[in-house]
Amino acid sequence: MLATVTSIVMFGLALSMALCAYRLFRGPAVVDRLLAVDTISTNLLAFLIVLSIDQRTDVYLDSVIVLALLAFVATVAIAKALVWGRIID
């Protein structure tokens, strides 16, 4: 039963990513697109977690930690660049 559920969840997550991608195309402002990318990263994170559940292994969780951190850093960097133009003072 878990296998079925994971399949459904993975499919759902892919769908969620596609919806966010719509916002990436459309979002009138750059921050909209930034938000979309950030959300897709989080969904990707969830996807990897579900994959590791499906495979009954914890190797992908390392990538998840890295992705969580770095996506945050990238988001903040781009946001700072939008406000100030420079991201390192």
Partner: protein, 123 residues
């Protein structure tokens, strides 16, 4: 035969999926940027956390190792999501994105903070 842990994990996964999908739908449907920002944060925190908890339940191997990793993920997300949201809102505000007409409370001071020299927030 499915065990109790698997059932619980499945439930958690589905809950997480629900939140995530809701977040994405909100991202598509809300009227302006500031409202749109609210939706994915739920997906980030609640959605991923429940999925991480499901992982703790099901993945074999040292429960402490998996538990540590999952808790780390959850902790990072809870810490970083508000900061990210704040930075994005600031970027939007200083880029001159106006809230939609239904907005009633606007806590931002009138002049945007920080010079805008080099970025093009309006895409």
């Amino acid at each position: 035969m499915t065990s109790g842990a698997e059932i619980l994990a499945s439930v958690l996964l589905l809950i997480g999926l629900a939140f995530t999908l809701l977040g994405s739908v909100g991202l598509v449907r809300f009227p302006d940027f500031y409202t749109r920002m609210h939706a994915p944060t739920k997906a980030t925190t609640l959605g991923v956390s429940s999925m991480a908890l499901a992982a703790v339940l099901v993945i074999p191997g040292g429960i402490v190792a998996v538990l540590m990793k999952a808790l780390t993920i959850i902790a990072f997300l809870f810490l970083t999501a508000p900061i990210g949201a704040h930075m994005m809102a600031r970027a939007a505000r200083s880029g001159g994105i106006a809230p939609c007409e239904e907005t009633r409370i606007d806590e931002m001071p009138t002049e945007p903070v920080g010079e805008d020299d080099g970025g093009h927030p309006a895409g």
